[in-house]
């Protein structure tokens, strides 16, 4: 057995954060799950009765819930796909030593520094029905005005959530670019040279030498973007306010808790969100830990 002197100071050092995280993160997660299993549908001191998974079952029977989940799926697919693709292309372009690389990198990264609320408000104007300004004005100016027909983009029942993903792509494509660029730079130049010596074209170098080594970056990007997308709230509210057509689970949860004041129902939506994020994050963490163990 090791002497206390060896492990005690280290433990004492991290103990405060273990306790705080234990209470404020895991404790509250536990409390939320407990709440979601009760019938506490009113605020107030009276505790609820245990009802098992009733709230979860009730939720899936609501068209409103399945609608909001569908909205989120559309948003996530378009946002993830768009940001990854655009970020990847930007990184590819900047990977070549070009003049003013620093400037481009900074410019593409800047939107990330803006809060989703500010982005949302600007894009609400850009996507507004006004045919003289914003995106509609742009389409009109190039003679494609008939295509948009003076519509508010995000209000369209079919394609509204696709439009809603545009500001998110705009905001985070630069971040994906930074991730990929760091990934590209992490691939040793020797390997690329070796490929070129063997007669590979530039495209083949990327396809067969660089890309296979980017898996960690891809994973990081998907996990980070994915969990942001699942929790999306501020962007939606800033663009659409409280609109049914753009309702996603996080907005629905907020309305249940603060408008309707139904803690148990809101908690069951929160649990769904946490589980959805966990499904994304936990495999990544496991994969990450296994990798680290292998490499040490």
């Amino acid at each position: 057995m090791r002497k206390a002197r060896d492990w005690l100071p280290g433990l004492l050092l991290v103990l405060p954060s273990i306790i705080l995280i234990g209470i404020f993160v895991y404790g509250l997660i536990g409390w939320n799950f407990q709440l979601s299993l009760t019938d506490k549908h009113l605020p107030g001191p009276k505790p609820g009765e245990f009802v098992g998974l009733d709230n979860y079952v009730a939720l899936w029977e609501l068209k409103r819930w399945t609608d909001s989940v569908w909205n989120l799926v559309v948003f996530t697919v378009v946002f993830l796909g768009g940001a990854m693709l655009l970020g990847f292309v930007l990184a590819l372009l900047l990977d070549k030593p070009i003049r003013g690389e620093m400037t481009f990198r900074t410019v593409y990264l800047f939107p990330m520094a803006v809060s989703f609320i500010a982005t949302g408000i600007v894009w609400r104007w850009l996507m507004a029905s006004d045919s003289a300004a914003g995106l509609n004005g742009l389409f009109g100016a190039v003679g494609l005005g008939a295509l948009v027909d003076g519509q508010t983009w995000w209000r369209d029942p079919e394609t509204g959530m696709v439009a809603m993903a545009l500001p998110a792509i705009w905001q985070l494509a630069g971040y994906v670019m930074a991730l990929f660029l760091a990934g590209f730079r992490g691939v040793s130049e020797d390997l690329r040279e070796a490929g070129r010596v063997d007669g590979a074209t530039e495209w083949q170098v990327y396809r067969h030498v660089v890309l296979p080594q980017l898996r960690p970056v891809l994973m990081v990007a998907i996990v980070i973007m994915g969990h942001m997308s699942l929790k999306v709230f501020d962007l939606i509210v800033a663009v659409a306010g409280n609109s049914t057509v753009a309702e996603v689970p996080a907005v629905y949860m907020w309305k249940m808790v603060f408008d309707v004041r139904d803690p148990a129902f809101g908690a069951s939506i929160a649990s769904h969100l946490l589980l959805a994020v966990a499904v994304l994050v936990i495999p990544y963490l496991v994969w990450n830990m296994r990798n680290e163990r292998d490499s040490s």
Binding site: L42, P45, M127, A128, D130, R155, G186, V220, I224, R261
Partner: protein
């Protein structure tokens, strides 16, 4: 190579930091002579009116007021904060809220003291309209004291656009209204009617329902055995479909939609009477020239009302101070001080008409002998849950334009209020 992965790690960390937020909380205060008044009145006439009340209160009594107003989101931020404080049994001495069922959960949770005796002691039953107190009561008890009243059923119009469309006088019936909308669409470039964010459609719906069902029929919708499946409701929803079909939906909240009327870009807008203050004070427009107003068609003589009220929370540290505050806000003096500044009319029927001009003068005249119907969207008639369900049905209607589905949604919403 290692350095490269570090960069990935750093970028990843930056993303996580960005994705998380943090927020701080407030603290409590000592009791004594301090009266904490909680509201979401942080700007414009609302704030000025509240400050005038506070100033008078501090002069007339030896209490000091702590103004705990929370800004933002037309009260939603304040609601969240308030709920947390009520839950923690740390209530303010009084908080602002709309009269009626909006307070229902707080009443059921046991957060509010009944004020029925206060009404009796202060003689409020003689000076407040009987229907007002009835419609804001729960099981025969009343839980808040009104300071000012707003009207929901006001049709705002632009006289010049109406003239251009060949409409001689503002419409008085739904039939005329729909004809007028068509005339504007055919004869002018202006939008016949405007809507803003989703709740403005809820607001229009309560007006259409009142117009078709009348005061009694509308009030019956909010009773326990309400019949939302009736042919009258079907007819109202057909009107709603037709009227909203003429609407141009603006991007912003209600302001942008209302502004289109005074700017001459639209003929009509249906909005509560807070729009009057916005037109005159913020946009510097002239009553009668840039805009006019009538009761929403087929609702003349009925006041679709909502009221700002103050409450007495259970466990307020200084409830004597609360009582003093409630005495002031329910007094003739207090109401005549507050309402002209805020842009609402006093709930009391014995107010001094000299203090009100422009729109408010007209409104005060209408109030004194109007029948009353409680606004559902602004908290009088519907519980928060029913209101939320109705809003969801209206939101779906705006996408699918299906009045049958809307009616089903409304029936459903009434089942679990």
């Amino acid at each position: 190579m290692r350095a490269g992965w570090k960069a990935v790690g750093a970028a990843a960390l930056a993303g996580v930091l960005m994705a998380t937020g943090c927020s701080g909380g407030g603290g409590g205060d000592d009791a004594g002579k301090k009266v904490e008044i909680f509201s979401w009145w942080t700007g414009g006439g609302e704030e000025a009116g509240l400050n005038a009340l506070i100033e008078k209160f501090e002069k007339d009594t030896d209490y000091t007021v702590e103004n705990a107003a929370v800004a933002g989101g037309s009260g939603t931020n304040a609601q969240a904060k308030l709920q947390a404080r009520l839950e923690a049994q740390d209530p303010p001495e009084s908080f602002q809220g709309h009269a009626g069922k909006e307070l229902q959960e707080n009443i059921e949770a046991g957060y509010l003291e009944p004020l029925t005796d206060f009404y009796k002691d202060e003689g409020l039953n003689d000076v407040l309209p009987k229907e007002l107190t009835e419609q804001s009561s729960t099981d025969g008890e009343v839980y808040s004291v009104p300071v000012g009243v707003h009207r929901s059923n006001v049709l705002w119009f632009n006289p010049k656009v109406l003239e251009e469309a060949g409409i001689e006088k503002p419409p008085e019936t739904t039939e005329d209204f729909i004809k007028a909308l068509k005339a504007v669409k055919d004869e002018t470039d202006a939008a016949p009617i405007t809507l803003g964010v989703q709740w403005t459609a809820d607001h229009l719906l309560e007006n259409v329902l009142l117009a078709e069902l009348g005061q009694e029929g509308y009030q019956a919708l909010w009773q326990e055995d309400a019949d939302w499946d009736s042919p009258e409701v079907t007819k109202a929803l057909e009107d709603f479909e037709e009227i909203s079909g003429y609407a141009e939906t603006k991007g912003g909240d209600w302001q942008e939609a209302a502004q289109a009327v005074v700017d001459g870009d639209a003929a009509f807008n249906v909005m509560g009477d807070w729009a009057a203050g916005y037109f005159v004070n913020d946009l510097k427009k002239k009553d009668g020239e840039d805009f006019g107003y009538v009761a929403y068609p087929d609702t003349d003589g009925t006041y679709l009302w909502l009221a700002d009220t103050f409450t007495l929370p259970v466990g307020a540290k200084n409830s004597e101070g609360t009582m003093e505050w409630l005495k002031l806000v329910s007094s003739k003096e207090g109401q005549d001080l507050f309402n002209p500044i805020k842009g609402s009319i006093p709930a009391r029927t014995d107010a001094d008409p000299e203090k009100y001009d422009g729109y408010l003068k007209w409104a005060l005249g209408e109030w004194s002998d109007a029948k009353l119907a409680g606004s559902y969207w602004h908290g009088v008639s519907a519980t928060n849950r029913q209101k939320d369900s109705i809003d969801n049905a209206v939101g779906n209607f705006l996408s699918d334009k299906d009045p049958d589905a809307l009616q089903k949604g409304l029936v459903e919403a009434a089942k679990n209020p």
